[in-house]
């Protein structure tokens, strides 16, 4: 790029920087501000979803007893603080819906996708900044619609986040009317947001990489976000179509999912899981990318097997389209299909194993610094391993007969989505906070938050394997109604106490986040001595990201402890004199 254009862009960037409050903080087209907006949305909804989880846990430990401090909630939602079964079903449905669609996706895909892609590939912004802004505000509207469903008659959707028809398609079966309508509408709207975001991410990564940033010099976080965007682009329309059919069944008298009208209940499950399994990888792939970014920085060592890491993510993305039936082994689908889906599911475990071994290889003979982001990234690896291994039990069709729809699956999904995605998100927040806000987060508070989260996370979710293998069904309101579950009830109490502590521990993150934003130690340009391009930009980066010319990339992103230099890092954009001499 010529210098003249560079200067013109820099001036352009300055002009943009002087926009008013509304354009800067609300209707911003700057990818960094949009990233922060997604982070605010995601963290707020994380608190709402977490609170719902606490209420669900309270009911399971001390069934049909009043929740302290909730006697003000009007009937029929609660009765003097006691949660009735209808409300309980609504709470766990909304807990999962909010956590998956409005907490983990906005934080990992919305926030870090937006914040990192232009900075790490060396671009000034996304390819379509206005579309990017719309993507956020559309998802904000979707979140508003979802939350509004708590306040309609009949309460929010109560058919589980999977909303199996016909429970979800015939209002009289669940007693929920507008709650489920709004659930469908909210997710259709959110699908539009995801579509806009994913087109933007894909276009930006393909077209706007800095000079020298070839595909195999891309940081793995960008690989993961790119692949995630492709999965979003292809899977969300399937969910949107299914939701439209569900909404028609509910409101327009169609019977897509009702046998009496020639419909088929299992059609919903096929469509839902055809979206739903890629969705699971949409939740975990960005966290894998984040871990692959943070482990080399704090092990001061190149990532082990860069290409294997990139190709295994591509492999996961392809295979994620042919495993959806493993959610349906006991559904009444032909048992012959069970064999096919079992084998494809066993195969998809292989790329996950490859990634785990490469993360271990990255640590091997490293020089490991235990910062807060590193502790969270290590927890991600460790917890993801548990989530991956427990998945093998469900993949085996006969074992699945017993553990399907028990707490075993609840344990499994939380090891993947909390142990994996959320610890990945924590790692990312602590790691990129300085670049976002120009200040460091407090390390001591961060470490206390990490250890409490790690301990109480395991205290909450590990025993769920045990009660699951004991036969404890998921989504039941009162376990003490079953004789065979009575000996397991003490575990429910233990889990709830840990869950309440886990929830309380998150206060430390919130305190640290806001305190550091205003009073944290001022961050330097590259506080972690990292190689990737975002650390070439000023802290915090101005509109347009890189004042003057865009950086040129000379090497891959993980040249740590390279023999070419005396320091233990070698940024992608640093031009080595020796090379210049050789070129002349």
């Amino acid at each position: 790029m010529s210098e003249a254009i560079g200067h013109a862009e820099a001036r352009h960037a300055e002009a943009h920087h002087e926009v008013g409050f509304i354009r800067h903080y609300v209707f911003s087209t700057d990818h960094k501000m949009i990233g922060k907006q997604f982070l605010s949305l995601g963290l707020s909804m994380f608190l709402v979803g977490g609170l719902l989880a606490m209420l669900v846990r309270w009911e399971l430990a001390w069934p049909e007893s009043a929740v302290p401090g909730f006697s003000w909630v009007p009937e029929p939602t609660m009765f003097g603080g006691i949660i009735p079964p209808e409300t309980y079903n609504g709470f766990f449905t909304m807990h999962a819906t909010i956590m998956i669609f409005f907490a983990v996706m906005p934080i990992l895909v919305g926030c870090f996708g937006n914040f990192l892609i232009p900075l790490m590939i060396g671009a000034r912004d996304m390819a379509f900044p206005v579309l990017n802004m719309l993507s956020f505000w559309v998802s904000f509207v979707a979140g508003g619609i979802m939350l509004s469903s708590f306040f309609v008659e009949g309460g929010p959707a109560a058919g589980g986040w999977t909303s199996y028809a016909p429970l979800s398609s015939v209002p009289v079966y669940s007693g929920v009317t507008w709650g489920q309508h709004l659930w469908c509408i909210s997710l259709i709207v959110l699908g539009i947001s995801s579509l806009m975001g994913s087109i933007n991410y894909i276009t930006t990564v393909i077209n706007m990489r800095a000079p020298g940033m070839s595909w195999f010099r891309l940081p793995l976080a960008i690989w993961s976000l790119f692949i995630t965007a492709v999965l979003l682009l292809l899977s969300l329309p399937v969910l949107t179509s299914a939701l439209a059919m569900l909404l028609f069944d509910r409101m327009a008298g169609t019977q897509f999912f009702l046998p009496s009208g020639g419909g088929e209940p299992l059609l919903w499950q096929h469509l839902f899981w055809f979206f739903g399994h890629p969705e699971v990888y949409i939740l975990i792939l960005p966290a894998m990318g984040i871990a692959s970014e943070i482990l080399p920085v704090f092990a001061r060592k190149p990532i082990f097997g860069y290409r294997a890491m990139a190709f295994s993510m591509i492999g996961i993305a392809f295979l994620s389209w042919v495993v959806w039936g493993h959610h349906m082994f006991q559904s009444g689908m032909s048992p012959a299909l069970g064999n096919t889906f079992m084998l494809s599911t066993m195969v998809i475990a292989v790329p996950s194993a490859i990634k785990t071994f490469n993360w271990l290889g990255t640590l091997w003979r490293g020089d490991i610094h235990f910062t807060t982001p590193m502790l969270n990234a290590l927890a991600f690896v460790s917890m993801f391993v548990i989530g991956g291994l427990s998945g093998i039990f469900m993949a085996s069709t006969p074992v699945d007969i017993f553990i399907h729809d028990t707490y075993y699956i609840v344990a499994h999904i939380h090891y993947v989505v909390f142990g994996g995605s959320i610890f990945g998100a924590f790692a990312a927040i602590y790691y990129w906070f300085p670049k976002m806000y120009g200040r460091m987060m407090n390390e001591t508070l961060g470490k206390i938050h990490f250890w409490l989260s790690f301990i109480f996370f395991n205290g909450t979710f590990f025993p769920m394997h045990i009660i699951g293998v004991g036969g404890h069904m998921r989504r039941i309101y009162n376990p003490t109604q079953y004789d065979f579950l009575k000996p397991l009830q003490h575990w429910n109490v233990f889990i709830t106490v840990c869950a309440l502590c886990l929830g309380a521990s998150q206060i430390l993150l919130i305190v640290n986040y806001f305190w550091s934003m205003f009073a944290g130690r001022v961050a330097s340009k590259n506080p972690w001595n990292a190689n990737t391009l975002e650390w070439e930009a000023p802290t915090p980066p101005p509109h347009g990201n890189f004042p003057g010319e865009l950086p040129t990339v000379y090497r891959g992103p993980y040249e740590y402890s390279s023999p070419e230099v005396s320091e233990d890092f070698l940024p992608q954009a640093r031009r080595l004199e020796r090379r210049t001499a050789a070129a002349h």
Binding site: P85, N89, P166, L167, Y173, P265, L266, R300, K301, P302, F304, G305, Y306, A308, Q330, S331, G332, A336, N339, M346, V347, V350, A353, F357, N358, L360, G361, W364, R365, G366, D367, H369, F370, L378, S382, V385, I386, L389, I392, F393, A395, S396, T397, P398, V399, I401, F402, H404, D405, I466, G471, M473, R475, I476, Y477, Q481, D483, F484, Y558, D568
Partner: protein, 227 residues
């Protein structure tokens, strides 16, 4: 080992499921300790020390191939082993001695036994909510239906679980090896009364079962016939 973990098994095929469970348990258990052990060991051995410099390496192709093939082989073996057990349970219904029909509805199991004519769907069917009576050591064939939403017929002690889907008639079977009473919870969310939707499986010794059949005018045990 670990018998405190899984509930007592009383069905003919439950032992096969439990064996697979324990095989996977030990395979994943060993993997778990190796991987977490390596992780913790590396964290301790390679923690930052003044003057330490990490080894500069980008990977090792032989290792990549090894740790791709090893899990792939192991997983395919687990898949193949699972396949035959699955076929025995879900794909081949053996000749049966007793037949019952389960129709799920919010929030009960409606159990129908053929009457003296030996046929289901006729006027002399014996219909009881939530109580399943079967003889011990006999193959029981079931036909599973639903009147409203999806339910799931779950007998933890028999390692039996099958969803009941409106519009479908799903065949299934079990053979219980030990007399006793076992709970049958619904395992698929089916509405506000889902929790507490349960029945009881009464497994009777032969003579006791025959007495129950006579008393209720249900069809006696027929000579074994294929479904």
């Amino acid at each position: 080992m670990l018998s405190w973990w899984l509930p007592e098994n009383v069905s003919s095929y439950g032992a096969q499921i439990d064996t697979l469970f324990y095989v996977i348990y030990y395979v994943t258990g060993v993997t778990f300790f190796l991987v977490q052990g390596a992780l913790v060991a590396f964290m301790l051995m390679y923690r930052h020390r003044e003057g330490r410099r990490a080894t500069y390496t980008h990977g090792n192709t032989a290792l990549e191939i090894a740790w791709t093939i090893a899990p792939a082989v192991l997983l395919v073996i687990l898949g193949v082993a699972s396949r035959s057990v699955w076929a025995d349970i879900k794909q081949h219904v053996p000749p049966s001695d007793v037949f019952i029909q389960v129709t799920a509805k919010q929030f009960n199991w409606e159990i129908a036994y053929p009457g003296l004519d030996g046929k289901i769907g006729t006027e002399d069917d014996v219909t009881i909510d939530n109580e399943v009576h079967v003889p011990v050591d006999k193959t029981v064939r079931l036909l599973l239906k639903s009147r409203d939403v999806i339910h799931s017929f779950f007998i933890p002690n028999a390692r039996f679980k099958q969803d009941l889907v409106p519009g479908h008639e799903i065949p299934a079977w079990f053979k219980i090896l030990k007399p006793g009473d076992y709970e049958i919870p619904c395992a698929e969310l089916c509405g506000f009364g889902h929790s507490g939707m349960k029945g009881t499986l009464h497994v009777h010794p032969q003579a006791e079962y025959e007495a129950w059949v006579r008393e209720n005018k249900a069809a006696p045990i027929a000579p074994a016939k294929t479904s």
